[in-house]
Amino acid sequence: MRIIGLSIAVAGFLASPLAAEPVAPGDVKYEDGVVEASLTGVAGDPANGRDVFKNRKLGNCLACHVNADMPEESFHGEVGPEMTGAADRWEEQELRAIVANSKMVFEDSIMPAFYQNAGFERTLEKFEGKTILTAQQVEDVLAYLQTLKE
């Protein structure tokens, strides 16, 4: 079949360890509030992570977290903790668990799971079976959060 032929060709062409498939949302390993391994194997881009943080259609993290690194944005939510010093309080592997599925770290959190695609009730059809962020966007946000030092 045409589609299969195409995907084999692409896979052959990208067959380096760096370009491996991202870890599927259901396969992410949470161990004591930590996700050790990168979801993609590709280093996160902090500049893009910063955009994901404030973009209302992506992370919209700013809806809930005051972030002193973004004085250009006029509205910062206050539902969760301020982001200043997040990198001092948490290791990268902990931040990965918090962003991918906060409920694995904070029981009953209001914070959405950004890399989870199942177990929800009544999800709108266009979001059904999808994660809020892609694996790479999660890694980008993590790279950005690591710049937030006191």
């Binding site: 004085p71 006029s74 206050e78 209001i110 959405p112 009730e121 999800t123 709108l124």
Partner: protein, 278 residues
């Protein structure tokens, strides 16, 4: 106090967040009539100490629009409803006014709705449509359409200032329980329940929005956002879509039970119909 705590925690950061937090002193009074916008929570709202009107959390300019009926854009629609009240429609050749001489006779009705009758939750929309179909021989209005929200605003206005007081015992109990269940059930891709925002985090900024308790005493409410009156169910629907959840049906059983439950959480708050929100 909660308000103070939140204010202090944000005041220390560079001052980019707008301080729109609830002011203790704010009072709602329209044409000499005082409104209860804050009162002790009823025992059945077990996680709340006080119940508060959504008016408290709105910006000063938005609040001001509700203080004077001439400034309140909701009254344009109330006026339209007065015309509809007198307009003959349907096979029986009747208007609302043919059976009810004055809409003022409905003073108090808003405070008791929704109510349970014959094993069903009955909303004001249901009462209006029953009159239309059974007594006027007219087509029912769309549950959340312009004519309906105008008429429920006109009828609700007759109870303005009176405390919400819906029945939740007896026949109503099972529907109330169902509404409560819905209130606390997480839904959608963002996986949140009404309670996550309106119980756990009211009086907190969620980006540009100042979260209220999500009370219904002001409905139908005029929203600056869409420049029209909005029904209770339309608001529920909007909140569900925001958390990327498939809303229940407007006018359907789930939303009616939820409406009953939420009305009961606002027990004691004054009816503000038609309120003004952003």
């Amino acid at each position: 106090m909660k308000t103070l705590k939140v204010l202090v925690s944000t005041a220390c950061f560079v001052g980019m967040a707008v301080s729109t937090h609830a002011e203790e002193s704010a009072a709602l009074s329209i044409d000499g009539q005082e409104f209860t916008i804050q009162t002790a929570a009823p025992a059945h709202a077990e996680n709340l100490d006080e119940v508060t009107s959504g008016w408290i959390y709105r910006a000063k300019e938005t609040q001001a629009l509700q203080l004077d009926d001439f400034d309140n854009p909701g009254f344009v629609f109330v006026d339209q409803a007065i015309d509809l009240w007198n307009e003959v429609d349907g096979g029986e050749g009747k208007a609302c006014a043919s059976c009810h001489d004055d809409v003022e006779q409905f003073a108090g009705l808003r405070t008791t709705l929704p109510r349970v009758e014959g094993g069903k939750v009955v909303t004001m929309e249901d009462l209006v449509n029953t009159c239309r179909t059974d007594h006027m021989g007219a087509e029912p209005w769309k549950y959340s359409g312009g004519q309906m929200t105008a008429m429920t605003a006109l009828i609700g206005l007759q109870s303005r200032g009176m405390p919400m007081n819906v029945a939740i015992d007896g026949e109503a109990a099972e529907f109330w329980e169902e509404g409560k269940e819905l209130y606390y059930t997480r839904v959608g891709q963002l996986d949140m329940a009404c309670s996550n925002c309106h119980e756990d985090n009211y009086d907190t900024m969620i980006r540009a929005d100042h979260l209220s308790q999500g009370q219904t005493n002001g409905f139908p409410t005029y929203r600056l956002k869409n420049a029209k009156l909005n029904s209770t169910h339309a608001r529920f629907k909007g909140c569900m879509k925001n958390i990327r959840a498939e809303p229940y049906k407007v006018g359907g059983e789930e939303f009616k039970s939820l409406e009953l439950y939420i009305a009961s959480r606002g027990q004691g708050l004054s009816v503000e119909t038609p309120s003004v929100r952003n």
